[in-house]
């Protein structure tokens, strides 16, 4: 029989000012199995805890109920006290008579006291039925996976590698670098993006603890914190990367032309291509969907033979390659190669995409001189299509008037209600760079308002005003295409309270940041959830900004919400630190408040298996019959299965039927 000790807390006057603590203590002492009932001014104080410990050590009690504030803050404290005194800490139960009683029923002392009696009786009812539980530990695979090779993924991977953990970095493009590699300069210091990024790319690629898998995608993830099994699909490059030297001769001979995504569609690349000049790894890829199969050289076929010379007729890319890295006779698998890796934790840093201009019908998307800010970034970049010279796409002439339109798709109920956070600053950066280079350029910027919260940001913005850049408060209503490839801007100046109309040569749209479309399937593979803004959801918006509801899975960068480079790097380093915790510990604790199947009671109906949000339940053979089995490390203890089991074969430890029925009984007595 259980020996329950009840300890009622005054919490100074927080509880005792409303509830008759002595009446509660007296009532508790008469409840079944209660052997002792005490009270103290502050149960959580040293003397209060000592009182409990002494009773345990003296063998008076083997179940502890504390009637006090709330288990959400104080359960760990009292559990630790029980454990120190030698009692299994799961033989503790708390009665919430402060947060859910004295604090809300100050107007009704008698009612509050009557409620406290019930709550204590309920806790005692549960405590009598508690069972000791044991924490279990499972070993951890000391390796991490970082998904996404932009600045977020690079920073996280480097941090993990420097801590000594083997790290896999998976990037879907042929090169790491992400969107930052497409940028010209970065605010508010105007550092050249390539100058600060490329050394990091090289470092991450050559780090002895890092395995960079580029041109690869995560195909499947199973397992749980400490032991994830990940299948990575290495896409087929049709070029032997061991031999490829990155000379680019194949690209120069390839006749097939495709819009170049790296240049935001402003130029063309070849089907055989190297992603960009500073690519890491600098390896060629044949984009087979756009390959023309020159000379009838389909992949996996033998070449025709020249009747005159007797030599095989090769495709231009094959012929051009000095390293013989391209051999089209090899029958490549278009599905690529699956690489299986085991990791203990995962950092997701899959980044973002910007909205295309076609979404904004009133902004004359048909005009080639209406471009997105990312396209302008490529135009002003030295590695871009015009080698850094400002030209407008329609005629490659230098524009005289250029307009910047903010909040295209951001802070707009038709698209995204959130602020994309970086647009104000990058537009100011672009305007400043252009004004420095072309002082005669007329630059008109249209903002709802300028958001420049960040170290050195507002100074950067006010500096732009001082440079003679025109800044208008008010959204642009629309653009009209005019002859001569010009555009009429129809705007409003809220400060002057006047409509504005003028002709512009080039219009730049700051389109919203959003999650790329393929993020949805990745989320399903990983068990990630989305927030209201359709980014990946963190565990807690303030106190768990890198964690997720899936243990062992962490977030970094714009996939969690729009942010600039410094914030992305900070979050990536935070995510790396959090991801390193299970790896450094070498083992992960399995909470004992999880579900367990009693196979002898199980009928093998299988109702529970599809209900489990963590796919922790499978049907396993037990004495020649299929019986449900719960993978202890994957179970999170929600109890959905236990509630659904028609045979009552599943027990959720800590929330067992007998315990809950005892509570119901006590509350309705």
């Amino acid at each position: 029989m259980a020996k329950v000790g009840v300890y009622v807390c005054h919490c100074g006057t927080n509880i005792a000012g409303v509830i008759d603590v002595e009446a509660v203590r007296d009532y508790a002492s008469g409840l079944p199995d209660v052997v002792i009932a005490r009270k103290d001014l502050f149960m959580c104080s040293d003397s209060g805890q000592e009182m409990i410990k002494k009773d345990i050590k003296d063998g008076l009690v083997d179940r502890v109920v504390v009637a006090a504030c709330t288990p959400r803050t104080h359960e760990p404290i009292f559990r630790a006290a029980c454990e120190k005194a030698g009692l299994n800490k799961y033989l503790f139960e708390m009665a919430n008579i402060r947060d859910q009683n004295s604090w809300v029923h100050g107007h009704d002392h008698a009612g509050a006291t009557a409620k406290a009696l019930k709550i204590v009786a309920s806790a005692v009812g549960k405590a009598r039925n508690l069972e000791p539980l044991e924490e279990k530990f499972v070993p951890v695979t000391d390796a991490a996976l970082v998904i996404g090779g932009g600045i977020g993924g690079i920073s996280a991977a480097l941090e993990l590698a420097r801590m000594g953990h083997k790290t896999y970095l998976v990037e879907k493009e042929p090169s790491i670098g992400g969107v930052m590699a497409q940028l010209d300069k970065t605010f508010p210091t105007n550092d050249c993006s390539a100058c600060i990024l490329t050394p990091k790319m090289v470092e991450v690629y050559n780090h002895p603890n890092i395995v960079a898998l580029t041109y690869s995608e995560v195909d499947d993830v199973s397992g749980y914190i400490g032991n994830f099994n990940v299948k990575v699909r290495r896409k087929q490059a049709y070029v032997d990367w061991v031999k490829c030297t990155g000379c680019g001769d194949c690209a120069s001979k390839c006749p097939a032309k495709v819009p170049d995504r790296f240049n935001a569609g402003l130029s063309e690349r070849r089907a055989a291509y190297i992603m960009f000049p500073q690519a890491v790894p600098k390896k060629a890829v044949i984009d087979i969907d756009n390959c023309l199969n020159c000379a009838g050289r389909e992949i996996g076929t033998e070449p025709k033979v020249n009747a005159k010379t007797g030599k095989p007729i090769l495709a231009p890319c094959e012929k051009a390659c000095p390293a013989q890295a391209i051999d089209r006779s090899i029958a490549h698998d278009p599905q690529g190669e699956i690489v299986e890796i085991q990791v203990g934790s995962i950092v997701v840093a899959t980044g973002f995409q910007v909205m295309e201009k076609d979404w904004f019908k009133e902004m004359a998307p048909a005009s080639p001189n209406v471009i997105t800010a990312l396209q302008l970034e490529r135009i002003i970049s030295a590695t871009g299509p015009s080698e850094g010279k400002l030209t407008r796409p329609s005629d490659h002439e230098k524009p005289h008037v250029i307009s910047f339109l903010s909040c295209m798709g951001s802070r707009d109920e038709h698209f995204h209600s959130y602020c994309s956070r970086v647009c104000c600053m990058y537009m100011i950066k672009q305007a400043r760079l252009l004004k420095e280079k072309y002082p005669d350029l007329v630059i008109n910027m249209h903002f709802i308002d300028v958001r420049s919260a960040g170290k050195g940001y507002d100074e950067y913005y006010t500096g732009a005003r001082a440079m003679g850049i025109n800044i208008f408060k008010g959204k642009v209503g629309g653009l009209e295409m005019l002859p001569g490839d010009k555009l009429r801007v129809l705007a409003y100046d809220m400060e002057g309270a006047t409509p504005i109309e003028y002709e512009s040569d080039l219009v730049v749209l700051a389109t919203a940041i959003e999650l790329p479309g393929d993020a949805v399937s990745l989320a399903q593979k990983l068990g990630l959830q989305f927030c209201g803004s359709n980014f990946f959801r963190e565990l807690h918006p303030k106190l768990g900004p890198v964690e997720t509801a899936v243990e062992g899975l962490f977030l970094a960068g714009c996939c969690q919400g729009p942010k600039d480079i410094p914030d992305t790097v900070s979050q990536a380093k935070g995510a790396a630190a959090a991801a390193a915790v299970p790896l450094s510990q070498g083992q992960v604790k399995i909470e004992p408040i999880i579900s367990e199947v009693h196979p002898e009671q199980c009928s093998g109906c299988g109702i529970c298996a599809p209900l489990c949000p963590y796919h922790a339940i499978s049907l396993d053979d037990y004495g020649g019959h299929p019986r449900a089995k719960i993978e202890m490390s994957a179970c999170k203890g929600c109890g959905v299965c236990a509630s659904a089991c028609p045979s009552a074969a599943i027990v959720l430890h800590g929330y067992e039927d007998t315990q809950i029925f005892a509570q119901i009984e006590a509350l309705t007595a």
Partner: protein
């Protein structure tokens, strides 16, 4: 001020992540509500078995509240969807058992909705007072 005997007795099942936290927040906010409800903490509203609710009503509880996270907010991804499905059927079962189905409420109250928790309890209490006590009530509160 209500005398305790006039107050309905409400048994509440609250998920520890949202509604239980919301009830604690009501305390932090000192949001007043009648001392009619007593919560049983569960990890997820999906842990609440229909039998618990029927048992509470059969034992004489005047009302039963099940509180979970809003859709999309479930700590266990989708436990609250299971709850919603389960409770829809339960409502019918409650009526079939001869109880006024208004004695049972399912509410989504987040950890940030302290005032909502207080408001829900206040409203539910008033409704139960209007319906009158559970005929199976054993006395006491």
């Amino acid at each position: 001020m209500s005398a305790p005997s006039e107050l309905p007795n409400i048994v509440g099942f609250a998920c520890q992540w949202c509604t239980y936290a919301g009830a604690d927040l009501a305390g932090n906010l000192r949001a007043k509500y009648p001392p009619s409800i007593k919560l049983i903490k569960v990890p997820c509203s999906g842990r609440v078995e229909p039998e618990y609710i029927l048992e509470a009503l059969a034992n004489g509880a005047d009302g039963v509240l099940v509180g979970g996270c809003h859709f999309g907010d479930c700590h266990y991804k989708e436990g609250n969807y299971k709850t919603a499905n389960r409770m829809m059927i339960l409502k019918k079962l409650i009526e079939d058992s001869g109880f006024d189905s208004r004695r049972f409420r399912l509410e989504w109250i987040s950890g940030a909705e302290g005032y909502k928790f207080a408001e829900v309890v206040k409203e539910f209490t008033e409704e139960l007072q209007a319906i009158g006590p559970n005929p199976l009530k054993k006395g006491g509160n």
